[in-house]
Symmetry: C2
Subunit: 114 residues, 2 copies
């Protein structure tokens, strides 16, 4: 059984403002975006968040289906990267503003690496 959600990513034109804002309304998801803000691709195994495996999977799906991240499979492992340029082209300035504000307020600091 093929699940569309596994591989689908929205094009920049398909990204929805309300969905993106909603995706960025959760501290854990903001923390994940902050970790990825340097543009590096990261394996899920490196992501440390105070939630269960299934909840983390859920949050990463929300980010992906909003268009904020891109997920790539390699064997049984997943790698995720921030779609910074795509988001910038669709919503100029939005991601930078959120990242700046999140840094200032330490939003999502419960999420870490390694």
């Amino acid at each position: 059984m093929v699940d569309v959600r596994d591989t689908w990513h929205p094009d920049p034109d398909e990204m929805n403002l309300t969905e993106v804002m909603s995706a960025l309304s959760d501290p854990i998801r903001v923390g994940l975006i902050r970790l990825l803000s340097d543009g590096e691709e990261r394996g899920w195994g490196l992501l440390r968040a105070p939630v269960s495996k299934s909840t983390l999977s859920h949050h990463l799906r929300v980010l992906r289906s909003a268009g904020l991240t891109r997920t790539r499979m390699e064997g049984t492992r997943c790698f995720v990267v921030l779609r910074r340029d795509d988001v910038q082209s669709r919503f100029p300035g939005l991601l930078d503003a959120v990242l700046t504000a999140a840094d200032n307020q330490s939003v999502g600091s419960e999420v870490s690496l390694a």
Copy 2:
């Protein structure tokens, strides 16, 4: 009986990113912000949204307690204004980015004036 929620507005330092993002995750609230984006103070009676009176009151309270708008009473009438400078000082670039994106996508166009 005094209700704190009637008059309380957060200082810029008290504004919370997650709360602001959440407040801007609803199309009707984004529409209200768009209407107020010219900086003019507007009476509630001028706001036209496809929701009931109580629901509109709820949305305006969410915007107010997030710090996005300021509400002033005058007799039995209410006036609301966008706190553009306060939001800009706390979250530089955020409001502009959201307004630009909302205009491009016509988010909240179901809200109108008069």
